[in-house]
Amino acid sequence: MTTLSSPPLSRWSRWKADHASQITDLRRGIYRFSRNRLSVIGLTLVILLLIIAITAPLWVPYPGDVTGSINMAERLKPPSAEHLFGTDDAGRDVFSRTIMATRTSFQVGVIILVVAITIGVTLGAIAGYFGGWVNQVIMRLTDIMLTFPGIFLALAISAALGRGVLNAMLALSITWWPGYCRLVEAQMLKMREEDFVAGARAIGASNTRIIFRHILPNLLTAIIIKASMDFGFAVLNLAALGFIGVGVLPPEPDWGSMISAGRRFIPGSWWYSTFPGLFMFVTVLAFNLLGDGLRDLLDPNSTVRS
C-alpha cells in the first residue's frame, strides 16, 4: 500500500503477508504443543481415530456384519488373518464391528457436545451477561441439573425412554449442558467486568455484539478445552449406557454393548469384549491427553515470563 511500485503479489503471499502474525502465532502454538509429548500422542491418536471413523465403511472387511448379517457357523472364532479380532456369538467379525463402532461413537459424541454446548453456552451467556433475575432463573435450573450425577440421570432417562441412539443422545445432552452453562456463566461474570467490555460499551456496541463478538471468542479456549475432555467422557458414557443395555440399537455396533455381550464369553472368547474395550480406552485416553495438553497450552498462566 505504501509503495505503489511494489510488484503485484500473488494472492497467497499477499494473504501470508497480511496474516503474518496469525501464522507466527500458529507456529508458536504448534511448537509449544509439540513440546508436550503426551498431548502429541493424544493428537496423533485422535487424528488416526478420526480417519478411521470417516473412512471405515470403505475398507472394513465385513460391512454386512455391521448391518445385520449373521453367520452362525462362524461363531466365536479366535482372532485369525480372516477375522483380526475374532468373531462374536452371532459369527460376526469383531474387527469390523469395533471399527464401525468408532464411527458411531464419534457421531454421537459430536452431536451430544454440539447440542450441549449450544444450549449451555447460550443459557450461560445470557445468565452471565444480564445477571439479576434472569441469572437466578437460569442458574437455579442449572443447579437442579447439576445436583444430579450425570450418568445416573442419563441412565434413568434412557432406561425410561427405552433403548435407542436418539434417546441416549437426548439423555446425555440433557445431562451435559449444565457444565457449559456454569463455565460460561462464571467466565461471563468475570469478563463483564473487563475493561475491554466496558470499552465496547463505551463505543456504543450492542449487547448482542458484546456477547458474541467480544466475550464469547475469549471463552472459546475454555470451551474447547472442556469439550476436548468431555468428548472422551461422552464416548465413555454412551458406552456405559450400551453396557447397561440402553444404548445404541442392534444390529448397529457400539463398544459398550459389545463389552457387555462379550463379557459372557470371558475368558474362553476373550477377544469379543477385549478389543472393543481397548479401542474405547484408547479413544478416551486420546481425547483426555489432547485436552490436557490443550489446557496446558492455552492456559495463560503457563507461559513462562521473565
Binding site: 445385520g68 452362525m72 452371532a90 427405552g162 433403548r163 443395555g245 440399537l249 442392534p250 459372557r264
Partner: protein, 567 residues
C-alpha cells in the same frame, strides 16, 4: 474491597481470636484422631493381609459347616404368602411353608402328596375333599390344621393380588371350608377336572392362622406382618433377613417330613446376583454352591471347571414370536406364514449352543395334550416362504416391520438378528426394538398399539385349557381393559373361541383331548404366532452339592440337598 476491610475495634479482634483458636483446636483434634486411626489401622491391614492369604473355605467351614450359598438371579422383595410368585419368592416360600402338594421331580411333573395325604372329587369335579396330615407343626411348635389351610386360601382370595388370579376363576372365599381338623372341602364355581393339578401348580403356602391373626393390623388378617415375617411349617426357617442384602435360612432339625437325603444342610443363603457373568464367576470361584439361570454360553466353561457342573432341564417357559393378527402386514395370514418359513430355528438353536427344545406346536412338552408327533409345520424353508410372500401385497418388499423384544435379553436379540438377516433378502427391513417389559405389557393391551412381532415368553400351569385360552381366545384381549401380553397376537377365530369355551367346562377327558387336538390344528394353520422353543433351566452346581433333582422350577429344592466336601 470489603474483604480487605479491617475493623480495628477490640471486640472484633477478640472474635477473630476466638475463631482462630477454636479452629486450631478443632484441627488438632482431627489430627489426633487421624493419627490414632492410622496407628490402629496398620495392624488391622496387616491382619487383613493374613486373612486374604489363608484358604478361605477351610477356615470358614469349621464355623459354618453345611451352609449352602445359592446365587440367585432375582431379589427377594417380599415373602408374602398371599401375593406374587416371582420364582425367587416362590423358592424361599417353598422352604418356609408347606403346601398341599409337592412336585417330586421327573418330567412331566407328577404331583405327590404334601400336607394332603388323600384327596378326592365329586363325579362332576365341582367339589373336592382333601385330607390333611396331623403330623405337620409350625415353627413355633403348634400343629397345622385344616383351619390354617382354609385361612391361607381365603386370605389369598381376599387379597386379590397376583397369586389369586387363576384360583379366583374357580373358587370363592365361601367355597372353602374345614369340616374337621384334618379335612378341607372346596366347592368350585365351575367344575374343573384338573383342579388338583392347578392347586399343585399354584403352591399356596399354608400359614399359621394363629400367628397371622396375632399380628393383625387394621383387620388385614396379618397380611402386612406376613410380608416380611414367616408363619410356616416348612423345612427351613428364617435366620437373618435384610431385604436387599441378606437372605439367610436355617434348617428345622425335626422337620415333620424328615430329611430325605444322606445328609442335610444346616442353612441356605440366597445371594442375590443379578448379573449372569457374576453368577458364573461366583460359581467358578467357589463362592456359590449353586447358581441359577446360567447362560447357555457358560455351560461348557462350568463343566470344564474341576469343581463345577451344569444341569440343563427343560421346563414350561416357552418363547413365541407373536404376530399382530389385527393390524399391519402381519394381519395377512400369508405374510405370517412367510415369516414362519423364514425363521431359521436351527440357527437360533445354534446361537443358544443347542440348549433349546424346539416347539412343534402351540403346546410345549409337559402340558397334557402335547402332541409329540405334530411336526414343526413351519420349519425353515425359503422356497415356501417366497411362495407365501408372493401371495401378499408385499412381494417386492420395501416395507419395514418392528420386532419388539425385552431390552437386554440376548437370546431374544439373537432371534431378532436371525430374522433380520433373512428378511434383508426380501428387501424387508426388520427394526429391532428393544423395550422395557412394562412397555411391552402396555403395548400389548390393544391391537392398535400392539407390535408387528413381539418376542414373548410364557410360563403356564401344565394345563392345556389355561394355556390355550389365555393365548388364543379373543376374550383374553377383546375386553374393556384390553389384553395381557399372552394375547399379544390379538387372535380372533370364532371356531377356536367356542371350542375353548367348551374346553373349560368339560370334564370328559376324551372330549378334552379331542378339543385340544382340534384347536392346535386350527391355530397352526392360522399361524397367529410362531411357537419357537422351550428354554432350559440351566443350573450350575458345585460338585459337592448332592441330592439335586430337577422338579420343574428355575430354583432348586433345598430340602433334598446336602453338601459333601469329600468329593
Amino acid at each position: 474491597m470489603a474483604q480487605n476491610h479491617f475493623d480495628p475495634t477490640r471486640k472484633m479482634v477478640e472474635d477473630f481470636q476466638a475463631g482462630r483458636v477454636s479452629r486450631r483446636e478443632f484441627l488438632k483434634f482431627v489430627t489426633a484422631l487421624t493419627a490414632g486411626v492410622a496407628t490402629a489401622g496398620v495392624p488391622v491391614i496387616a491382619a487383613a493381609k493374613n486373612v486374604a492369604k489363608a484358604p478361605v473355605r477351610g477356615t470358614l467351614n469349621q464355623v459354618e459347616p453345611k451352609i449352602l450359598i445359592y446365587g440367585g438371579s432375582q431379589d427377594i422383595a417380599t415373602i408374602d404368602p398371599f401375593d406374587r410368585t416371582d420364582y425367587s419368592i416362590a423358592a424361599i416360600i417353598r422352604q418356609l411353608y408347606d403346601r398341599l402338594f409337592r412336585f417330586e421331580g421327573g418330567w412331566p411333573q407328577p404331583i405327590e402328596p404334601g400336607l394332603v395325604q388323600e384327596w378326592s372329587s365329586s363325579a362332576d369335579a365341582s367339589e373336592w375333599t382333601f385330607k390333611i396330615t396331623d403330623q405337620a407343626r409350625f415353627h413355633d411348635g403348634s400343629p397345622l390344621t385344616s383351619e390354617d389351610v382354609v385361612f391361607s386360601y381365603q386370605q389369598t382370595l381376599k387379597a386379590q393380588k397376583q397369586r389369586s388370579s387363576l384360583l379366583s376363576g374357580f373358587l370363592d372365599v365361601d367355597g372353602i371350608t374345614a369340616p374337621d381338623a384334618t379335612t378341607v372341602v372346596m366347592k368350585l364355581k365351575i367344575p374343573y377336572g384338573s383342579f388338583d393339578r392347578l392347586l399343585a401348580f399354584l403352591e399356596q403356602p399354608i400359614a399359621s392362622k394363629a400367628i397371622a391373626l396375632a399380628n393383625e393390623v387394621d383387620g388385614d388378617g396379618g397380611a402386612a406382618y406376613l410380608i416380611d415375617h414367616e408363619a410356616g411349617s416348612g423345612p427351613f426357617r428364617i435366620k437373618n433377613w435384610q431385604i436387599g442384602s441378606v437372605y439367610e435360612l436355617e434348617a428345622v432339625e425335626d422337620y415333620w417330613q424328615g430329611w430325605p437325603g444322606e445328609g442335610r444342610l444346616s442353612g441356605v443363603v440366597w445371594q442375590k446376583t443379578e448379573d449372569a457373568g457374576t453368577r458364573k464367576l461366583g460359581l467358578l470361584a467357589g463362592n456359590f454352591d449353586i447358581s441359577d439361570t446360567i447362560s447357555s454360553t457358560d455351560i461348557e466353561e462350568i463343566n470344564a471347571n474341576e469343581t463345577t457342573m451344569v444341569s440343563v432341564n427343560y421346563g414350561l417357559l416357552a418363547g413365541y414370536l407373536k404376530y399382530n393378527t389385527q393390524a399391519g402386514p402381519t394381519a395377512d395370514p400369508n405374510f405370517r406364514k412367510f415369516l414362519a418359513y423364514s425363521f431359521d430355528r436351527q440357527a437360533f438353536a445354534d446361537s443358544q449352543q443347542g440348549y433349546v427344545s424346539i416347539m412343534t406346536g402351540p403346546l410345549p412338552e409337559g402340558v397334557p395334550g402335547y402332541d409329540p408327533d405334530l411336526d414343526p409345520q413351519y420349519s425353515y424353508d425359503p422356497v415356501k416362504a417366497k411362495e407365501h410372500l408372493d401371495m401378499t401385497e408385499f412381494k417386492d418388499g420395501g416395507i419395514s416391520i418392528d420386532f419388539v423384544y425385552v431390552s437386554g435379553l440376548d437370546f431374544e436379540e439373537a432371534g431378532g438378528l436371525i430374522l433380520l438377516a433373512e428378511l434383508q433378502k426380501y428387501n424387508i427391513t426388520l427394526n429391532l426394538v428393544p423395550k422395557n417389559w412394562p412397555d411391552i405389557v402396555g403395548a400389548c393391551t390393544v391391537p392398535e398399539s400392539g407390535p408387528h412381532i413381539a418376542f414373548i415368553f410364557d410360563a403356564f400351569p401344565p394345563l392345556a385349557d389355561t394355556w390355550l385360552i389365555e393365548k388364543y381366545s379373543s376374550k383374553s384381549w377383546d375386553r374393556p381393559t384390553g389384553g395381557s401380553y399372552q394375547a399379544c397376537s390379538f387372535y380372533k377365530n370364532e371356531t377356536v373361541d367356542s371350542l375353548l369355551d367348551e374346553l373349560r367346562l368339560t370334564t370328559d377327558t376324551a372330549r378334552i383331548d379331542a378339543i385340544v387336538q382340534e384347536v392346535q390344528t386350527i391355530i397352526s394353520n392360522d399361524a397367529p404366532d410362531m411357537p419357537l422353543y422351550v428354554t432350559p433351566n440351566i443350573t450350575g452346581l458345585n460338585k459337592r452339592v448332592k441330592g439335586f433333582t430337577y422338579y420343574g422350577d428355575i430354583s432348586v429344592d433345598f430340602w433334598r440337598l446336602w453338601l459333601d466336601d469329600a468329593t
